[in-house]
């Protein structure tokens, strides 16, 4: 069995401009949504209380919301989580209360829930998460720092291993992925939590792989074959690695799909971020990074060491 029966190198580079324009548009759209809608940050970043409770019978969410508002919780979010009997409640940090007091929100919410629908069974508590405002701020800062460290680390490594042109294009291509993932989370207002952040960074490292594999081929082709123009070399490199690209990403995606199906709500957004990252990773590392390398002016001379004539002579 062989999926990819490619006779000639596919002229990817002829359409380089088109790919770059497509990327630019998606990128700008993502930036636009991020700027206008922002991210729906989880309470890990914003601070607040999150509770997961389980009822014997599906409760009336509207009623729960009303009761909570009546008991003095500002802007509580009440939604189903996984099944209609499981309810997720988010209470933002109340302004002006000190940290010690807000730590008791969990107990107050449970007291409030017990009042809903007299006679009905009180819910059982499955999970409480309370995050103070200070912790949230630090997590957001640490996340940004982690992203920065990944970008710098990968660029340094690629610059050392290949050339600065490759490093720059690979990082641009993959940061564009990161922005697009964030754009999706912003557009659909999916919850951006710590595991999602981990997924985004893992995907960043993973899709740089893709560029590395292509670049490896580019270097090899430059060294081995003379007389090919730069676009031809890039086309050849991409064509000869495309089957591996698709099979590898397909395999990883099988695992991620399995997480989407069996992982339950706790892993849902994590797997979703990975899915978007993997799909755009194929596209960007191949069809964005390579044209960028070309625009930056990569050429054969950068890889082939000119032979140095020995000056000394033995007489």
């Amino acid at each position: 069995m062989e999926f990819f029966r490619i006779r000639k190198d596919i002229p990817f580079m002829r359409h380089a401009l088109v790919f770059n324009i497509i990327s630019l548009i998606t990128f700008l759209l993502a930036v636009f949504f991020l700027a206008t809608k922002g991210l729906h940050l989880s309470i890990e970043f914003t601070g607040g209380t999150l509770m997961e409770v389980s009822y014997a019978q599906a409760p009336d969410l509207q009623q729960i919301r009303k009761q909570l508002e009546g008991d003095g919780f500002a802007d509580p979010q009440v939604q189903n989580f996984g099944s209609s009997r499981d309810v997720l409640i988010r209470v933002p940090l109340a302004r002006g209360t000190n940290e010690g007091e807000s730590g008791k929100v969990g107990e107050r919410v449970m007291a409030s829930l017990a009042k809903v629908g007299a006679g009905a069974t009180a819910p059982t508590l499955k999970r409480v998460e309370f995050v103070g405002p200070q912790v949230g701020k630090e997590l957001a800062e640490d996340g940004a720092l982690a992203l920065l460290l990944v970008v710098i680390g990968i660029m340094l490594y690629l610059a050392m291993r290949f050339e600065w042109r490759f490093a720059v294009s690979a990082i641009i291509a993959n940061l564009h992925d990161v922005v697009i993932i964030l754009g999706f989370f912003s557009f659909f207002q999916w919850e951006f939590s710590l595991p999602v952040l981990a997924a985004v960074l893992a995907v960043l490292g993973y899709s740089v792989n893709e560029s590395v594999v292509v670049f490896d081929r580019v270097r090899e082709t430059f060294k081995k074959k003379r007389g090919m123009t730069t676009p031809e070399v890039l086309d050849h490199a991409i064509t000869s690695t495309i089957s591996r690209t698709i099979i590898t990403h397909g395999s990883t995606q099988m695992m991620v799909t399995s997480m989407l199906i069996f992982g339950g709500p706790a892993l849902h957004y994590f797997a979703l971020a990975l899915t978007i990252g993997i799909c755009f990773g194929i596209y960007s590392s191949v069809l964005v990074a390579s044209p960028l390398v070309m625009w930056l002016g990569v050429s054969r001379a950068q890889f082939v060491q000119p032979k140095v004539e020995k000056q000394e002579a033995v007489v």
Partner: protein
Amino acid sequence: MNRYPIWKNATVLIALVLGFLYTLPNFFGEVPAVQVASVKATHKVDARLMTQVESALKAASIAPQGLSLDLNSLRVRLADTDTQLKARDAIERALNPVPAEAAYSVALNLVSNSPNWLTGIRALPMYLGLDLRGGVHFLLQVDMKGALTKRLDSVAADLRTLLRDKNIRHAGIARSGQTVQVQFRDAEMREKAKQLIAGSQPELLLAETLTGADFTLVATLNPQSIKTFQDDALKQNIATLNKRINELAVAEPVIQQQGADRIVVQLPGVQDVARAKDLIGRTATLEVRLVEQASVAGSDAPVGTDLIPERRRDGSINMVAVRKLVALTGDRFNGAQATFDENQRPAVAVQLDAAGGRIMRDVTREHLKKMMAIILIEKGRPEAISVATIQGEFGNRFQITGMFSPEETNTLAILIRSGAVAAPMDIIEERVIGPSLGADNIAKGFDSTKWGFIAISVFMIGYYLLFGVVSVFALSANVLFLIALLSLLQATLTLPGIAAIALTLGMAIDANVLINERVREELRAGNSPQASITAGYERAWATILDSNITTLIAGIALLIFGSGPVRGFAVVHCLGILTSIFSSVVVSRALINLIYGHRRKLTSVSIGQIWKPGV
């Protein structure tokens, strides 16, 4: 020829055997157990306790499956949950005859059912995080600013006493923010005071300023003493928390410092958050009283005294009659450390604040050669932790000596510190995970990994035939190594950690795809099968290394900056990348060599159809 030298094959084989051994404990499951730990620092978990527990079980005719003693707890393995409950009650009765004065916590726990020889080589099952086993998690912020303010208040009081004693007139001493300001009418007085303070209070930094007509001396704590003070405050709070949490009878509590001023408390299996919070918030109190009668035989207290139990070194209880009048309370104590006196005998050095020092001076002057007791009151029950003779007149620094061992002075210092008021703490992060949710998370994480693995295996074998089988074997070896490593390191496995196992496996197959594609390519170019295998592995190696290093960079960044769930993810991710390099390159090559390497005339390999353009 594709053959590995013997040492390489041996390495692979040994790695596989070790991987299998250390993965093994995860399959044995857990058995019910009763765990005994000491609640009071005066009680130790030792071999004597073990015989005590054994005889208690024998008396209740319960046959334990095994007893194991470690640094701070004793675990008794039992056949089923019924006997577990019975054994708990029997041990509880034997060790804590008076429930209100429990000296040991007797908790229900689950311990690994793996055979002793496995435990002997330190093969333990993976350590599950709270999100997988259920429990509560608190992050506490120690209010260092508040504690420092309190410390400076006592510095101000100290200075007041000092200046009065030396007859240096000042125009007022007050704490302002994180400084103490002393006002003087003239520069001469200030200079005198400065000399004096610099001589007696080395931890203060002094600066001179002019406020209006007043000559001011501004005193601040120097950075070194602030650091020492904060470290002590944190250690003291952790010690106090340890004692309180022992009362909850939690099997494996985690109480750790995080950063400069935070403490993490994790209580697996605890659902009663309100009680846990109540315990964490409570502080013990300390009192110093004069002893009227060092030993009272009956249970009647002489007039004007209270009877306080004192635990002697041999374990017996002695009743001490102390005066009802409290000479000093815990908030006058600034610290206590184990140290040595001038004769190099173990001693406990105690520091009081200025007011406490003044009281102490008066008391000791009037009651020379009499006895003084330091009493720790926990949960309303007092216990005399030190009864000693007053040997001289002393002030805010004194030493308690006796026939102590260094270990005993340490214990006593901790006891005194736990009674002194610690820096206040706030809960800034809280997580409660129900036990059913934990089990649910394990099942979901496991299912995701299982089905993903099956899907990849089916595809790889279908697409690459025998080479696919080898790839799947390498991937299984990767799972084995990863789980063995996690078990060996006892790294905490969380749900994001399980997700990382799945993701790492999905990514690890990349290396084998790269190799297989390269081998196919070489075959397509018309090379012989043996040469193709060699070239395929060699050429793929550089690419595999590059791609894994970039992934590893991301993993390490997460490890450095991640906390909580992200850290759990990062640890597994990084370890997985390392094991995958070994398994996908070395293990798979060893297997391929074993299958094809010895054949001299190899005409074809089973790697699926090789399509050649133009044929």
